[in-house]
Symmetry: C2
């Protein structure tokens, strides 16, 4: 049976929560270890800044309404809301209730991110030939929520920050290395109180985390009101 | 609170199930009334044929594993599996466990369908200015499942059959009328036992169901093994 709450395997994501309930120290730099996930509460008007420390790392991103975990960011609703499958500074990211949850207020990269590809999961690595457990973004999401006392109500489609998936005129997609640079940052202003989850994508069997297939750390901060 | 199971309003979808448990008479033509949804059990190797009787009607489509309703068709997983955001004859549609659920074995239309846009829902019509309840595909999904004794575990992103949403090279999308013709058919062969749900999309505030904004019936059959 498919269980959105329960990881198919585990890693240290279960032990590295930033606090018991996910509340951050404001303006403090937190690390997301390579291959792991972290959940953080971001209150309305606070800004979540994510840094691509080494420049080549994709960050899978999801967010849930802190008052109602069944409401979450939805890529298919964002496509309707923005009339686009790509996101840029000024765009608001909406939920499955078509409510604004975050607005992109700064992006130092070229703005190449993905909104159409599923997060990697246990089944993806089986398909790619793994015979043992492989860290994966879906389990990182599940574990990061468990680590602060929540359970994933479903596995929403992710906002894949810095993931380079061009779509050609015939709808064909490619898996390319990120075009981002070391220390590139994206700033997301919270429109409502949110439980944001970030995963340092452990995909090391395709070049989406760089041509050298090396998974790296990310950093983030929650900044005082913008 | 967002509840995936509970409709925000109701229509006659609740009363028009094809049978108590969704089991069809094989090779029988069933009608999907305009603005309504129907759920049907399609067993492995049977073929679901959907007919766009009047040529201009979009059919929102979802499907769940009959043995595990938490496993369902997932557009974001299909994009990865096919390396494309468009689908064509021969393509298999996979689930959130990356398992093949249906294969497109025939499509008499030009093959223009959508996989990136959310189903219309109560919140979409509120956004478009409706002050009263408007029929919507998400509620049709919820009600069609209730009508045969199931509950939606989540609202998966839909396969929008005949919906004409071109994506340009900059990722911008448009809402156009279908390019399909009266009596166009699509045939989907079941790879596993499935609970398929179809909605005659009630969107009459944009031209996606034809330039005259008229919502029409659809027909379907479940055919004996292919």
């Amino acid at each position: 049976m498919f269980d959105p709450e329960k990881p198919d395997g585990t890693n240290k994501t279960l032990e590295i929560a930033i606090s018991e309930n996910g509340e951050p120290k404001l303006n403090n730099t937190y690390n997301i270890p390579a291959r792991c996930g972290i959940a953080v509460i971001v209150r309305q008007n606070q800004v979540l800044e994510i840094e691509n420390t080494f420049g080549t790392q994709v960050c899978d991103f999801w967010s849930f309404n802190a008052q109602d975990i069944q409401e979450y960011l939805s890529m298919e609703h964002i496509h309707t809301s923005l009339g686009s499958v790509y996101l840029k500074v000024g765009d608001s990211l909406v939920t499955n209730k078509r409510q604004k949850m975050f607005t992109i207020i700064e992006d130092t990269s070229e703005g190449i991110h993905d909104t159409v590809i599923a997060s990697c999961d246990h089944h993806r690595y089986q398909e790619l030939g793994c015979t043992e457990y492989h860290d994966n973004c879906v389990d990182n999401l599940r574990m990061a929520l468990i680590a602060i006392g929540y359970r994933a109500p479903a596995i929403p489609s992710p906002f894949n920050i810095w993931m380079n998936i061009p779509i050609d005129k015939d709808g064909k997609i490619k898996w390319l290395a990120p075009s981002s640079q070391p220390k590139d940052k994206i700033k997301l202003k919270a429109e409502i109180d949110s439980i944001a989850v970030m995963s340092s994508c452990p995909q090391d069997l395709t070049p989406i985390n760089g041509e050298n297939f090396k998974i790296r750390d990310l950093n983030f901060q929650v900044l005082e009101n913008s």
